[in-house]
């Protein structure tokens, strides 16, 4: 097997590399079938390391939400913004921003779709300066 075709390790870094490609991927355990999202190096239920990457469906259900009015500096330009925890049919839950919806239209139980931020167009970091960590791309949710 060549280096290029090796399975990506089941890590946070790999998860966000997929997000950068516009994909939400989970780890499915070949031993017990549990889907772990975000992935972990060993199955969250049986601790097996016999895993495979599986895509997560585009649709999810909103479990709870908030409107953030006081944010860290990085997100100040976005306030107030909606943030929610969603559940996927395949298993697994994620937290993320909810965009493209009026606050009074948010409802526990509503169906949302996953979307992805375009990769940052920040200028390349000069070679002698290590890039700031982390630089992961982000996913978000929007009305279905």
């Amino acid at each position: 097997m060549s280096l290029l075709s090796e399975v990506r390790p089941f890590t946070i870094e790999s998860f966000y590399k997929f997000v950068g490609d516009g994909k939400l991927m989970a780890a499915k355990c070949n031993n017990c079938g549990t889907v772990t999202l975000p992935p972990r190096p060993a199955c969250s239920k049986c601790l097996s390391k016999d895993l495979q990457w599986v895509p997560v469906g585009n649709e999810c259900k909103l479990l709870t939400y908030t409107m953030i009015h006081v944010s860290p500096k990085e997100f100040e330009s976005k306030v107030p913004y909606a943030l929610g925890i969603v559940k996927f049919n395949e298993g697994g839950q994620l937290l993320g921003m909810i965009r493209g919806i009026e606050p009074d239209k948010l409802q526990v139980g509503m169906t949302l779709k996953v979307d992805f931020e375009r990769t940052s167009t920040a200028p390349a970091t000069p070679a002698q300066t290590p890039p700031q960590w982390p630089q992961w791309p982000r996913y978000f949710f929007r009305p279905a």
């Binding site: 709870t64 908030t66 839950q93 937290l95 526990v108 982390p134």
Partner: protein, 390 residues
């Protein structure tokens, strides 16, 4: 018949809580330690105290690590062995647990456990960023979550499932400010009214400014001994008769149950079992009200009421000084203040005062059994201890 004492508190100390400009954490701890020393004239600290265990959340606040030996030196305990415990906002409740292990194992007869945090010299935005380190950075903060925002999602889930109201949450703040106004060491010693709480600015809906606890400087400590030797130091010890601790996922987003904090519930169940007491036996409780919703959740997790009825419990006045269980008589994190690393032992300090009739205007008459409930982060750590008048 309650359980046997695991260890005894023979003295307790606390610094003033508040915005204490120009005072470093080690200096705050001196104030707490001196308070404990002065309350216990039979104790010779240098000779009797065999170890120091101190809780502190972060080095980021002061660019200072290695807190154990630093603090030990400032309070005259060098060269005793020291240890720092870190469990976010429950760091010093974990220090109490480590102290119990030291005493119960027979390793040390007398130990000091405490906690400290210096926070107010930092910008609010820096403090909130440091505190958020108690959550799951790659999947929560990175995606835009804040600490109040995560508790707001617990509040929203609770409102949706049980009909809890913003007014009920505000009533927790009103009650705790009422108690804090009677505590000379509290950060905010003033009453607030329901209208002010409900009309304060939104931080993370449904949580408003008055739903949030305070950024505070402070230190607190306890002197723990083997129960058999407690009377050597004081006629009025307070015994720790039950203790429990549990962990949960670091991320809130992974949990099936978003309305309650299971680590607090599990820690409570363990502590009740060890202490052989039931929720109805508790006279006074200091619970983790980092946000008002957290106190409502704590009532339920500790069995003071049924699941979903926490909002009604405070609305019915059952958790005030004359209620069926007096909760956060100190003013809680909400009014006394929340110097994160100091909170666990400060809760025990209040229960110690209550069970030794030293709580002044906020004294609950005849309080015999007390409880402390301390949560780290979004409940990734939960610690409950139960105390009995000696």
């Amino acid at each position: 018949m309650t359980g046997k004492p695991l260890a005894s508190i023979v003295s307790a100390g606390m610094s003033k809580f508040g915005r204490l400009d120009g005072i470093y954490s080690r200096e705050l701890f001196v104030e707490a330690a001196k308070d404990a020393y002065e309350k216990c004239p039979n104790l010779d600290p240098k000779k009797d105290i065999k170890a120091l265990i101190v809780g502190q959340m972060g080095e980021s606040f002061e660019h200072q690590g290695h807190t154990g030996p630093t603090v030990a030196d400032w309070i005259g305990l060098t060269p005793v062995p020291t240890m720092r415990t870190e469990a976010a906002c429950s760091s010093s409740a974990v220090a109490i647990r480590a102290g119990l292990m030291a005493v119960m194992s027979g390793l040390h007869d007398v130990v000091m456990v405490g906690g400290v945090e210096k926070m107010t010299h930092r910008k609010t935005s820096d403090v909130t960023e440091y505190l958020a380190m108690a959550c799951d950075y790659p999947f929560e903060q990175w995606q835009g979550a804040t600490f109040p925002g995560l508790f707001a999602m617990v509040a929203r889930a609770h409102m949706h499932k049980y009909g809890t109201t913003e007014k009920q949450m505000a009533l927790v703040a009103v009650k705790n400010h009422h108690h804090g106004a009677m505590n000379p060491k509290a950060h905010m010693q003033k009453e607030i009214c329901l209208e002010d709480a409900l009309s304060s600015r939104v931080v993370a809906w449904p949580l408003k400014l008055y739903d949030c606890s305070l950024i505070t400087d402070g230190a607190s400590c306890l002197i723990l001994t083997k129960p058999e030797i407690a009377k050597k130091y004081t006629d009025a010890p307070v015994h720790i008769i039950g203790s429990g601790q549990a962990s949960d996922t670091i991320g809130l987003y992974e949990r099936e149950n978003l309305t309650n904090l299971d680590s607090g519930r599990l820690a409570g169940e363990e502590a009740y079992m060890v202490a052989s007491v039931e929720p109805k036996d508790i006279d006074v409780a200091e619970v983790h009200d980092c946000f008002t919703i957290a106190e409502i959740v704590a009532y339920e997790d500790l069995g003071f009421c049924d699941r979903g009825k926490g909002g009604c419990l405070v609305e019915d006045g059952q958790t005030g000084l004359d209620g069926k269980v007096a909760v956060n008589t100190s003013g809680g994190l909400k009014a006394k203040g929340h110097p994160v690393g100091a909170t666990g032992t400060a809760q025990a300090y209040e229960v110690y005062l209550q069970l030794t009739e030293q709580a002044g205007k906020r004294q609950v008459k005849g309080a015999e059994i007390g409880l402390t409930h301390n949560i780290g982060g979004l409940g990734a750590t939960g610690v409950v201890n139960i105390y009995k008048r000696g």
